[in-house]
Symmetry: C2
Subunit: 381 residues, 2 copies
């Protein structure tokens, strides 16, 4: 049978974009003390979600609403747009897959920053697209000029950009984004991943009224709303496009209780504010910790801080050291981002676990570096 | 932008395979008293699921395990196969979409029975496949000979067959299925939808040890396990195929709590047995009710009974009558199945609501038929 796979699938290499925290724990044979590697919300659960959770149980035997009517209506109202502009699916990943399915034929060009979102890359190649990557600028921001030129030169159908960016945490304000959109070819659809938008300065963000024929804005309940386990994301974009996606999307993908707790979370602005405030505090703490170790922390507008270890070998050493100390962080796999370690905003106790392991790791590296200069390659204890 | 849609998507007509119960209720402006149209489990929630539900809440902020490790291990053990034969996704629909993505290039031939599963048809055309449909046999069973010949003649890549069948409820036993598989071209993959397998006579079912290079067996937690709202399904098939699907599947599609309650449900055989027994009782009751109205009920091996109203106009009349009486049932949209009405197994109180509405509807039709023979076309009150 495998000789009848679609050609673009038959020629794919294996490999998963992310190794989950659970999978890591299984491989290690023990749990993490500080799970700071997946940019999850580590500040508890909204009380509105708790209430919706209890109510949802008795109806778990019923199918979800395939139209996501209530959730879309609620989202649309908060954005000040009609609900025909809103589509809901099992997280941003699912929406990206849907958009790629809608547009891509084998060989089509898609563009993103190199090392930005492994899942986007994974979905591109899984649909037979040509993935073109623009390196980040030297200051770790997205090279918007380079991205626009690449899209132009390659007649790209889709361009993926995260703002705030992951894994750098950088942020482009509204005028910058508007200029970028204007610089893109009119027939290149900008997939603007705003998963971390709630953590960015509201006054500088693209207004919710900003819609354009070649703009799709992607949001999630996995970050500031604290519902990564629920798998709910949405997009706001042109109504005509939403209607076309409706003809190919999976209607019964989002769990019924996920719809219900997402709706509850969306209405709980108090919890959202607490999470955002706690996140900003955590990010400040991480920046201090980095400085204390003589390291630079990239300015972050998301729920994590990336610390620059200067080169990949040092970052890899620290990453492994942290894992040995039961601290889960994430090091981007692609150069030059692989010299960064990304740490998710967490509560004080987790930050303390991270802080002491980091200080140890940096000290150990320095000792190793001295020893290895004398006698050979360094190793992780 | 829409002029850059993939060709197979650009040329698609609109239309959703199913109108959900919720959407119907919104359109009607009032809820149903008896929701018997979606083949959901109407016999409550497993106590093991209730316990898992409470435990899952505190971790809703964490991502799901993208490998579905525990659930797959549990399923594999119960099937007596290695877990490399098992893939999990957001319901059978999602697995069908994944298989179509893996195999189909525009123009490829896929085969199913005409009117079998609207979502399979929807996914086929959404991926640019050529959908070839074999009519059901006159006795409402799948025409297995015809399906095999069609697959042969058209060099079909995939063939969809539900067993027990939906919407007819018919069932092919193990020897029949084995013979069918042998009659298929060796390079045609049989997608065997066993969503209703738990309701069929175990001794006659295909053994769990039956695996073949061109066989994929699809199961769900939406029916006998009572978790339609959780959106979890799985397949058991060749390990090499599961590994290939792993390269293109959505890793973060199934909600974390869905994984956990599916695991709990899979371990609660007592609840499963209760549901199956209650379902058989409900099916017997529906068959009696049909006989009492002078109608034939198709023998059912699933969690519903399809009643044959002889012709589509009569079935449509009854369907609308039932809806007016707040009873949600399903009438297949495609001839000749459109003369059937499918009623989901439910508890006694819901069956009584159905019973009195059905008796009224049949009487009203007879009166209408007399009147219309005298004066013109019939109408629904």
């Amino acid at each position: 049978m495998l000789n009848r796979l679609a050609q673009s699938v038959a020629t794919l290499q294996g490999g998963s974009p992310f190794l989950g925290g659970k999978a890591l724990e299984r491989r290690r044979g023990r749990p993490f003390r500080a799970r700071l590697g997946a940019n999850e919300c580590l500040f508890g659960v909204s009380s509105a979600v708790r209430r919706a959770w209890q109510q949802a149980l008795d109806e778990v035997g019923h199918y979800n609403d395939p139209t996501h009517h209530e959730l879309r209506a609620h989202i649309a109202a908060s954005w000040g747009v009609g609900m025909e502009h809103v589509a809901v699916a099992e997280g941003i990943d699912s929406l990206l897959a849907l958009l790629i399915h809608a547009f891509v034929e084998p060989g089509d060009a898609l563009v993103s920053s190199r090392g930005a979102y492994p899942t986007f890359d994974y979905l591109c190649v899984g649909h037979g697209a040509r993935l073109l990557q623009q390196p980040y600028a030297p200051d770790w921001t997205n090279d918007l000029g380079g991205l626009a030129r690449l899209a132009q030169a390659e007649r790209a159908k889709l361009l993926f950009l995260a703002n705030p960016d992951n894994p750098t945490g950088s942020f482009a304000d509204a005028p910058t984004l508007q200029a970028f959109l204007a610089a893109l070819p009119a027939d290149c659809l900008l997939l603007l991943d705003e998963a971390y938008a709630e953590f960015a300065p509201a006054a500088q963000c693209l207004a919710s009224s900003v819609l354009a024929p070649n703009l799709v804005r992607l949001r999630t309940f996995s970050k500031a709303y604290g519902l990564a386990g629920a798998r709910v994301g949405y997009l706001v974009g042109p109504a005509e496009l939403v209607e076309r996606l409706d003809r190919i999307r999976l209607h019964f993908g989002v769990a019924k209780m996920s719809q219900e707790i997402a709706l509850a979370a969306h209405g709980d602005s108090g919890f959202l504010e607490q999470v955002v405030a706690a996140t900003h505090e955590a990010n400040r703490h991480y920046a201090e910790l980095a400085r204390g170790c003589g390291l630079a922390a990239l300015p972050s507008h998301a729920n994590f801080v990336s610390i620059d270890f200067g080169h990949a070998r040092r970052a890899a050493f620290v990453e492994r050291w942290l894992e040995q100390r039961d601290v889960f962080v994430r090091r981007p796999p692609i150069a030059p981002l692989d010299r960064l370690i990304r740490v998710t905003a967490g509560p004080p106790a987790m930050r303390e676990v991270f802080a002491s392991a980091l200080a140890e790791a940096v000290e150990a590296w320095d000792e190793e570096a001295v020893r290895s200069a004398e006698s050979g390659p360094c190793h992780v204890p």
